[in-house]
Amino acid sequence: MPETAMAEARAKAAIGGNILQVRNLEAWYGESHILHGINFDVNAGEVVTLLGRNGAGKTTTLKSIMGIIGKRAGSIRFNNQEIIRATSDKIARMGIAFCPEERGIFSSLDVRENLLLPPVVRAGGLPLEQIFDLFPNLKERLSSQGTKLSGGEQQMLAIARILRTGASFLMLDEPTEGLAPVIIQQIGHTIARLKKEGFTILLVEQNFRFASTVADRYYVVEHGKIIDGFSNAELAANMDKLHTYLGV
C-alpha cells in the first residue's frame, strides 16, 4: 500500500458517516499547477485540520472544494454527490460554507448587513441570539462599518455569518492568523462548541498549537499532495515527523 494511502487509512477515525471524499484532486491557477492529486476524507461531525507550510496547497484545496478555482480535476463528493463541476453558488446551497483567510468583510456594508448577507440555504442554521451568545461583541457593533472592526471582531463576524446559513460543513481558512492569544482562545472555544452542535469543520491552520486543541484528525499537505495523516490520539507519536514537515 503506498504511503499516502496508508496515511489516510491511519487517519480515518470514523466519528460519523463519510461526508466529504476528495480523490485525485488537481487544481490550477492559470498555468500554475498547484494541487497534484489530493486524497482525503472528512467524516460527519469531526474537525479535520490541513497542516502544511506556506504555499503547500491548503487554501487551494479549500477553494477547490468551494468551486472558486477556475480549473479543477479529480473527484470531490459531498454527501455522495459529485461537486467537482458545480459552481460555487450551487455548492454553497448544498450545505458547504467557506470562511476565507482574508475574512472577506465587505467595507460597503455595516456589521448587520455583513452578518445577514449569506442567504439561508437550508434549515438548521444558528439563530441570531445563539450567534450573539457565541460572539457578544458583534451585537454591540451592529451598525459599525464592517471593516472598522478589530481583526478579531472581523474574524468573529466572518465565522458568525456562515453559521446562520444552515450549512453543516464549514471550511475555515486560517481563522487565527494575526490574532491576539485571547481571541485565538475564544475562536478555539467557538470551534469546540460548533463541533458539539454537530457541525463538521475542515480547518486550515499554520498555528499547530491551536489546531491541536480543536482537531480530531490531521492531514499534512506538501507540494500539492497529502503526504501524511493521523488522528489526535496519534499526535504525540508523530510530533517529530510533524516538526519536520512544518519546519518548526
Binding site: I68, S88, A92, R93, P100, S108, E113
Partner: protein, 287 residues
C-alpha cells in the same frame, strides 16, 4: 427675473435626465465595471419604444413608462449575456470599445430607417397645460418630469443602499467570488443589474420623448454631457450621480441666464477642475 426661473426650470429638467442616465451608468459601472457607452443609444431606444407602442399598438404614455424600460431592459440583458459577460476581468477599455460599437450600430440602424429628424410624441392629456406659480409659468409636463425623475432616483438609491438586494449588489461589487460562494447567483444578478441600468436609461427616453421629440441621435447628443456628470460625481457613486446630475443641470441653466456663451461648455470646465482637484470625483471612491 422670469427668464431666470425659466432657465432654472430648464436646468432642472436637463438635470433630471442627467441624473437618471448617470444613475444607470453608475449602477452598471459599480457592478459590471463597464463604462457603458451604449447608454445614450438605449435611452434613444426607450423613446422609440414609447413611439412604437403608441403608434403601432395604441399603448399610451402611462403604459409606455412601464413597458419601455422592461422591453429595452430585456434587450440590455441579452446584450450582457451574449457579449458583455465575456469581458469580465478585462481592462475597462474593452467594455468601452464594445459598448461604443453597439451604440454606433443601434444608432445607425435607427437612422437608416427613421432619418435624423425628430418624430413627434404628444404630451399625455393629463399632463398638458401649465400652472401660474406667481413668479413663473410652470408647464405641467415639465414639473412632472422633475418630480417623477427625483422619485425614481431616490427609489433606486433606496433599493441599492437600504435593502437586502442592494446589500448583495454592493457586496458583489467588492468581491463577487465570495458573494457567489455564499450561494448567490452572481452572474444572474449582474445581468439583472445591467437590465436595471438600461431600464433607467429607457425610462429617461420615454420621459424625454414629449419634450425633445424622438430622434435616432438624441442619445448621442446627451451621452457626452452625462459622462462628464458621472466623472464629476464619481464613477460608481449612486447618490453622487443623482446629486451631481440635478446640480449640473441647474448650473447649466444658470449659465444660460448669466453667460449664455458658456452654457454648452460649463459642465466640461467643471469636469476638468474636478479631475485636477479630486480625480475620483466629488463623491467617488479610489479604485
Amino acid at each position: 427675473m422670469q427668464a431666470l426661473y425659466a432657465q432654472l426650470l430648464v436646468g432642472l429638467i436637463n438635470g433630471s435626465f442627467y441624473a437618471l442616465l448617470s444613475l444607470g451608468l453608475a449602477v452598471i459601472f459599480g457592478m459590471l465595471n463597464i463604462i457603458n457607452f451604449a447608454h445614450g443609444a438605449l435611452y434613444m431606444m426607450g423613446a422609440f419604444c414609447a413611439y412604437f407602442l403608441l403608434n403601432l399598438g395604441g399603448i399610451n404614455y402611462w403604459w409606455a413608462l412601464l413597458l419601455a424600460p422592461i422591453i429595452v431592459g430585456i434587450f440590455g440583458m441579452i446584450l450582457e449575456r451574449t457579449m458583455l459577460q465575456w469581458l469580465t476581468g478585462l481592462d475597462h477599455l474593452y467594455g468601452l470599445l464594445l459598448t461604443f460599437g453597439i451604440a454606433l450600430i443601434v444608432q445607425g440602424v435607427f437612422q437608416n430607417y427613421f432619418g435624423s429628424s425628430g418624430l413627434p410624441y404628444a404630451i399625455p392629456d393629463q399632463l398638458r397645460g401649465g400652472m401660474n406659480l406667481g413668479f413663473m409659468f410652470l408647464p405641467v409636463y415639465r414639473g412632472w418630469v422633475v418630480i417623477f425623475s427625483l422619485v425614481v432616483c431616490l427609489a433606486t438609491w433606496f433599493l441599492i443602499e437600504k435593502t437586502r438586494l442592494g446589500a448583495y449588489l454592493r457586496a458583489a461589487t467588492e468581491n463577487p467570488t465570495l458573494v457567489r460562494a455564499f450561494g448567490i447567483n452572481v452572474p444572474r444578478m449582474i445581468t439583472l443589474t445591467y437590465g436595471l441600468g438600461v431600464g433607467l436609461a429607457a425610462l429617461a427616453g420615454v420621459l424625454s420623448a414629449p419634450i425633445n421629440q424622438v430622434r435616432p441621435l438624441m442619445g448621442a447628443d446627451l451621452i457626452i454631457v452625462v459622462f462628464a456628470v458621472v466623472v464629476i460625481g464619481g464613477m460608481g457613486s449612486i447618490m453622487g450621480s443623482i446629486i451631481t446630475g440635478f446640480a449640473l443641470g441647474v448650473i447649466e441653466g444658470l449659465t444660460k441666464y448669466f453667460y449664455p456663451e458658456a452654457s454648452n461648455t460649463v459642465v466640461f470646465v467643471l469636469m476638468v477642475l474636478v479631475l485636477l482637484v479630486k480625480p475620483t470625483g466629488l463623491t467617488g471612491r479610489a479604485a
